[in-house]
Amino acid sequence: MADIDIDIDAPGEVAFLMGNEAIARGALEAGIGFAASYPGTPSSEILPTIAEVAKKRGIYAEWSVNEMVAMEAAAGASLAGIRALTSMKQNGVHVITDFLGNIVMTGTVAGLVLVAVDDPSGRNSSNEQDTRPVARWLGIPLLEPGDFQEAKDMTRWLFDLSEELKTICMLRSVSKISHTRGNVLLGDMPIREMKAYYDLERIARLANPIGHQELLEKLARAKEIFELSSFNHYTGPENPELMIITCGSGWLYSREAVKILQLERRVGILKIGTLFPLPENFIEKYLTRAPKVLFVEEIDPFLEPGVKELAADLPPDSKRPVFYGKRSGHLKAYGEQEPDTVIEALASILCIDYQPGDAAYEVEADKAAENHLIPRSGTLCPGCPHKASFWVIKEALKLDNRYGFVTGDIGCYTSGLGAGGFYVVKTVHCMGGGAGIANGMGQLGRFGFSQPVIAACGDSTFYHAAIPALINGVFNKSNFVMAVLDNSATSMTGFQPHPGTGYTAMGDTTDVVKIEDICRGLGIRVEICDPFDIDDTVSKLLELMDFEPIPRVVVMRHECELIRARREEVPYMVHVNPERCIGQDCGCDRLCTRIFACTGLRWNSETGKAEIDEVVCSGCGFCADICPQGAIVKEAVRL
């Protein structure tokens, strides 16, 4: 967390803030009264930063059950006159587009800001996607910060803008802004009177053509304001050889590239902060000054087609520049950009001889990595209950012998796609997608489909998006098993509370919404088991797979190992008895290190025995339960 109290009233002081903290600070400076979010890396730190000071500042912050509810709840606050913020990752923005498409036409009251944080390269995501087209598609004024200072300042300013325009405004950040730190000059913390009241005189109407017309008027006004925005500026020679038009973290890379190549006298940088609607007149002023233009931006070309559209409208005799960017292939069209990619593009366009890295060093680095890194594929943590769950699911599917499989979902357990989950997961799309897919497949018996389908979802995912699919399955009698891999946490994004945890974002205790109660309320069969009880779970799964043809649920409950480890010592001391370990011989063939492959286990090729890596082992004891020779021994530490 930040090295200061995030709500410190110290205008003019400099704080070293993570981008997401800067965004939260901007919202606090704007005097928000309401924040709602659903966790999603790289956006997850915004809400808790606000929640931490929420009580002190008399505001409200919540982890909502999903992004849709978070967005709607924030809009509810806005409509009753309270400034509100909602934040999410790109996938969340997909979830809320239906609501967005309507709120843009009905309008808002108090400032309402959506912060969308995109994940270039999809390092923490199921996909790599750009949320900015949503702004253009639905008509939402959009800003993109180029550094930490702007992350704060833009957020703060967007509330004023939203209030002036009476429409929702959007800030688009990316991992490199949200998840890195930099200096931020703090603003003041004005005390705002907040009184919530819904004005009954406000005309509530559906988004008809009048709403659309009003929206276009608001966007025209936004463009006028953006023409004068200090978030847009040009630095460089009056008539550069090449002009970089950039936004967001592209601005950081561009400055670095120009500096490294010492092109300050040849290349100018036109930095745009207000991405939609574009400040057309401002851009036009610079567009014809350079014969070449390079666009630098993260993920999809957004600024690029916008500016090209402007160029198309230039007077016929204008000198149009040659455009370079993702369409020309000078920057890669996918994956995260970096200074090197910009350097390479500049070097190529300007015919500069430049070697971005030391090739010999790279070879050395690769060699060092080979020597020091353990070769292994993506896996789950030692002691992870999902690994136990996938093991028992694998066992049950094999025994069942009808080529059953898992339709997966979003969470740590997405790794069931790979060796860490024994490849049992065969589809992964979006939150709740596994249960939805299972609904469809569960109707295909009429076409000869006989493979058992297990829809796996985590506890948080269950509340988020799996419930409607489950209800649909009950309603339409779809044949599938839902396995709720309940590790009692939203682990992948950092242990945020959810309806099953019994506490809220602001630390208050609350009623637990029990997964099994919801399912029982649907009148369907529910089994609860601990995946570490292998025999019990396998037999319940086998039974449920046979129990056709309506949905049935198995709640596989075992607390996330990371939470347990923070609270208490290990449950077992685990060691291998080398006398009993038969290693690669008939009767084992390295089951523990080859198939189960927990990172806490190690194969010693010299002795031909398995070993426990005491540094990594979490003492869960699962490997002792599956060792065919009883060679792995677990001794209880806690009684």
Binding site: Q584, D585, C586, D589, L591
Partner: protein, 382 residues
């Protein structure tokens, strides 16, 4: 581990593992469900009338392949190990004594399939401490057979009776850890007796200590039924929870009788036969030749068993049962004896013909490693 595994195939010089077991046996429908391959490792598991491959075993030299009664088996070696004599191809195998018998115990007779001989002998062996437990088969409530370890008279009684459905008892045997000192009796079908013979000839390395198997009781078998399909078929015909006995009366009855409550439901044997396991067509053995004592029905004599004593162990147990008046034994009628030999010889001849139909070559007999003399004898048997 110096042990050489999967090397009974000296004549063909092949060491093979799980992958080949799958391709040469399972995928060709040759699995007899004896269970010899399973239960001793994490990769082969018996479940619902099937051996399931759980994960990929990389060994190219495995005891699963070695013990399978449908991979190459040197019959002479197994026979020499058992009877100190090569495999001769006699219709009903090695015989010390053959007779008909029934239990003197009315409780046993009431529960047993025919004369209750197997149940009586197991109870005796347990009571005398000759064995600590018996590995056998019992039925679950809905007549799914499951292998079972019985260690008391009550538990043995619970295993009495048959439903002709194959069940992998050797898988249960394999699940005994190698350091277990428990002395065991086992009740096996002919294919299981052969696999057990292979296990005795070349003892398992990392599973049950095969020396602990003190007593092998064989059951006569014409063919076995595939568990899942037959179970499905049955559950459409009868209420399995109400069924208390199955019987296939000797020829020429040509029917299976199912005792449901006070009713007897008879199914034409041809309907039942469609669920025969393919692999049974290639089986030489009707009377469980690699056993201490083999037991079957006594044709035409209701409530009695035909009993063949084959080894000294079997003989000793039998004499003990006689001395304690636990078993009534009577000389087998000559007609019964001849008919049994004829039926057993027919099975051998038919099996060899079926095998040669597949291989097209008398010298190439699938899993059977036989001396040409034995082959000739069995082919000519009348």
């Amino acid at each position: 581990m110096e042990r050489s595994m999967g090397r009974k195939k000296e004549r063909v010089m092949e060491n093979k593992g799980c992958k080949e077991l799958v391709s040469e046996v399972f995928e060709k429908g040759l699995c007899t469900l004896c269970g010899a391959c399973a239960g001793g490792c994490p990769y082969l598991v018996a479940y619902r009338g099937r051996i399931t491959v759980m994960d990929n075993c990389t060994l190219d030299d495995g005891q699963c392949y070695q013990y399978c009664p449908r991979t190459y088996t040197d019959m002479d070696a197994v026979s020499c190990n058992y009877f100190n004599a090569p495999y001769a191809g006699d219709a009903i195998g090695e015989v010390q004594e053959i007779f008909i018998a029934r239990s003197a115990d009315l409780e046993i007779r009431g529960k047993a399939q025919y004369g209750g001989t197997v149940t009586t002998l197991l109870c005796l062996a347990l009571e005398e401490g000759f064995i600590d437990a018996a590995v056998t088969v019992r039925n679950t409530g809905s007549w799914r057979p499951e292998s079972y370890v019985a260690s008391s008279r009550e538990e043995v009684l619970a295993t009495a009776s048959s439903n002709y459905i194959a069940c992998p008892v050797l898988e249960r045997l394999n699940r005994f850890p190698k350091e277990s000192a428990m002395q065991l009796g086992i009740v096996v079908l002919p294919c299981q007796a052969l696999a057990l013979g292979a296990m005795k000839q070349n003892p398992p390395a990392n599973r049950v200590d095969i020396c602990n198997v003190r007593l092998t009781l064989g059951l006569f078998c014409t063919w076995g039924l595939a568990q899942e399909p037959f179970h499905k078929f049955l559950s459409e015909k009868v209420d399995l929870l109400e069924v208390w006995k199955f019987d296939i009366p000797p020829p020429p009855a040509e029917r299976m009788d199912i005792y449901q409550g006070s009713d007897i439901i008879s199914l034409p044997l041809d309907e039942v036969r469609q669920f025969r396991m393919i692999t049974c067509a290639y089986c030489l053995d009707m009377t469980a030749e690699f056993a201490d004592i083999s037991v079957g029905s006594a044709e035409g004599i209701e409530g009695w068993n035909t009993v063949i004593v084959r080894t000294d162990t079997g003989k000793a147990l039998l004499e003990l049962a006689r001395s304690k008046n636990l078993l009534e034994t009577v000389k087998i009628p000559e007609g019964n004896r001849l008919h049994l030999i004829e039926a057993a010889a027919n099975k051998k001849r038919r099996a060899l013909h079926e095998i040669i139909k597949v291989t097209g070559n008398k010298g190439e007999l699938m899993y059977l490693g036989l001396s040409p003399k034995a082959v000739e004898k069995m082919m000519d048997n009348r």
